[in-house]
């Protein structure tokens, strides 16, 4: 009886030590899988917005992700709905679509068709219009817009300026 009590105590004492150790190791394991600081610190990308041609999609790179830049033609700007216009970035009087070029479904890069002025994602058939808004499922929403700040005729990606903050607040991008 007395011995059983002692064994029980030893068992519980070991259990307590093991539990602390287990929680500690899990924390260490989780943290070891985190992205490295060097990855997280991945810097900013600055785009010179004067070099783009109308209705020609250019793919830039930011944090390893493709960034779509499309300068809209006057005809596109004229026929835009309010919803499409809300996604525009206006620099020096020109309207641009700038967004992360990854399908919001599962992350493939959709292809732009300049004649049809829209994007098609080959992976599961999702479609987007020229403003980057979704027109056919499975993607749940339009392209995400990266944090940006307008700096004269330049656009800095990775920094949130007032225009971006507004888009985020109004739910135009995530």
């Amino acid at each position: 009886m007395e011995n059983n009590g002692r064994r029980g105590f030893m068992g519980k004492a070991f259990g307590a030590v093991a539990a602390v150790g287990a929680v500690g190791s899990l924390v260490a394991m989780k943290k070891s899988w985190d992205p490295l600081p060097s990855v997280k610190a991945a810097g900013f990308t600055t785009l010179d917005m004067t070099i783009y041609e109308e209705n020609q999609l250019v793919t830039e790179k930011w944090r390893g992700k493709p960034i779509f830049v499309l300068k809209k033609t006057a005809e596109m700007v004229a026929k835009q709905t309010e919803k499409q216009k809300a996604r525009d970035i206006i620099i020096g009087g020109s309207h641009y679509m700038v967004s992360i070029g990854l399908c919001t479904h599962l992350g493939c890069i959709p292809a732009y068709n300049a004649t049809e002025q829209g994007f098609l994602c080959a992976c599961h058939g999702g479609q987007f219009d020229f403003s980057g808004d979704v027109t056919k499922v499975p993607p749940p929403r339009g392209f995400d817009i990266p944090p940006f700040k307008i700096d004269g005729t330049k656009l800095v990606l990775g920094e949130a300026g007032p225009e971006y903050t507004k888009m985020k607040e109004t739910g135009i991008t995530l």
């Binding site: 790179k61 992350g107 890069i109 080959a122 499975p138």
Partner: protein, 404 residues
């Protein structure tokens, strides 16, 4: 202390220390197998052999493969394929085995479903088998990342994105799994670790569990007959070998098993030498490029059916349907409410259910490979709905099944 005597032979020496005679009996000559089975019961052994082929060829690939995003592609496509003598052999064996192993797994699974081998004490065999299926899927996926070609990269992108959970936007989780915003070096090295160490270890453990779960219920037979193994084995040992319903695992059943394995290996090496193309996607012969998605992304053939269940729906419903398809087979022993453990062909409505499920999965597989547009989209959509509906219907149609 145990008492040891002077050994009369090497075998006796070992026997005194390791009881090898007892082990041989328990694992082989007195492990009883029903006689009333057919070649489909050899698939387990075929799977063991295929796993050994993967292990051996993998070890040789491992000597030259470099898990680095700059060099991985070349270490596979140039070093292993051109420089290393017979390097191509290991790669083709590995690739073909990774593909064929799933063909055999599916045959093995559907054999189990057909003969009701997941019921009446055999539930753990089924569950451990499904865990093996999951582990092999993870093994194949992680291996597919390693050559760091276009398909590796984009399959890695799409599959890890599944973990964002659609509208849940768990992007942090996806980045945690990748160790980066996009698949990059951290991603390649951790999947390399999973592929060559952690998952193979898990597979070995699961194989042990799978075999262990067979001991008590024994394997099923063609008529689902409940055999008294105690009585039948006594009968066999007393000399009535012909009258007994069982036989020894070794060497009686093993010899038949190995016959099937022999035929299989001829087929297997025919594929390795003359027809390995199906296991090597041409798109993966382009190095990974994070700024260009290939025109078509599709998984290896063995994942196509579940991929097709994901594809036709909007993102959240797609993910739910996909998750459903991934886990539902595990629940089969509990969703099948009928007490009958007999071949599906003798089970009324279940017979139709079985053949429809098999054919539908072939249709889903075919549609998953075709571009997601027009008529294929529509067929895929209805096949996906049918798949889900069949599982929902299963408890009801089996509940009212007549006892045979």
């Amino acid at each position: 202390m145990a008492h040891f005597t002077k050994a009369t032979s090497v075998k006796d020496w070992l026997n005194q220390r390791l009881a090898i005679d007892t082990i041989e009996k328990v694992m082989g000559s007195e492990y009883w197998i029903p006689k009333n089975i057919n070649f489909l019961w050899a698939m387990g052994m075929v799977l063991v052999i295929t796993f050994v082929l993967l292990l051996v060829s993998g070890i040789f690939l491992l000597m030259y493969y470099q898990p680095n995003i700059e060099t991985a592609f070349y270490s596979v496509n140039f070093t292993i394929m051109r420089d290393v003598d017979f390097g191509w052999l290991w790669r083709h064996v590995h690739g073909v085995a990774a593909s064929v192993v799933f063909l055999i797994i599916y045959i093995h699974m559907f054999t189990g479903i057909y003969y009701g081998s997941y019921k009446k004490g055999r539930e753990m065999i089924w569950i451990s088998g499904m865990l093996l299926f999951v582990a092999f899927s993870a093994e194949a996926f992680s291996g597919y990342m390693l050559p760091w070609g276009q398909m590796s990269y984009w399959a890695g992108m799409v599959i890890t994105n599944l973990f964002s959970g659609g509208s849940l936007h768990a992007d942090g989780l996806v980045e945690w799994i990748r160790g980066d915003y996009v698949p990059a070096q951290a991603f390649l090295t951790r999947f390399f670790m999973l592929h060559v160490l952690l998952i193979p270890l898990a597979i070995l453990g699961l194989i042990a569990l799978h075999f262990g779960s067979l001991r008590i219920p024994h394997v099923n037979n063609q008529d689902g007959e409940e055999i008294d193994f105690e009585k039948e084995s006594k009968r066999y040992l007393n000399g009535d070998k012909a009258g007994s319903k069982v036989m020894r695992f070794a060497n009686d059943f093993m010899s038949k098993d190995m016959m099937v394995v022999g035929v299989y290996l001829i087929f297997f090496f025919y594929l390795v030498f003359y027809n390995y193309g199906f296991a090597m996607d041409p798109v993966n012969f382009d190095p990974a490029d994070g700024l260009k998605t290939p025109a078509h992304i599709y998984p290896e053939w063995y994942f196509l059916w579940s991929y097709e269940i994901l594809r036709p729906f909007s993102v959240d419903i797609g993910l739910i349907a996909f998750g459903f398809a991934q886990v539902i087979f595990v629940l089969l022993p509990f969703l099948d409410r009928s007490p009958n453990t007999v071949a599906a062909n003798r089970r009324g409505l279940f017979r139709i259910w079985f053949w429809m499920m098999l054919i539908n999965m072939i249709i889903l597989t075919a549609m998953g490979k075709l571009p997601p547009s027009g008529i294929y989209s529509t067929i895929g959509f209805f096949a996906a709905i049918l798949f889900i509906a069949q599982w929902i219907a299963l408890p009801f149609i089996t509940m009212f099944e007549k006892k045979v």
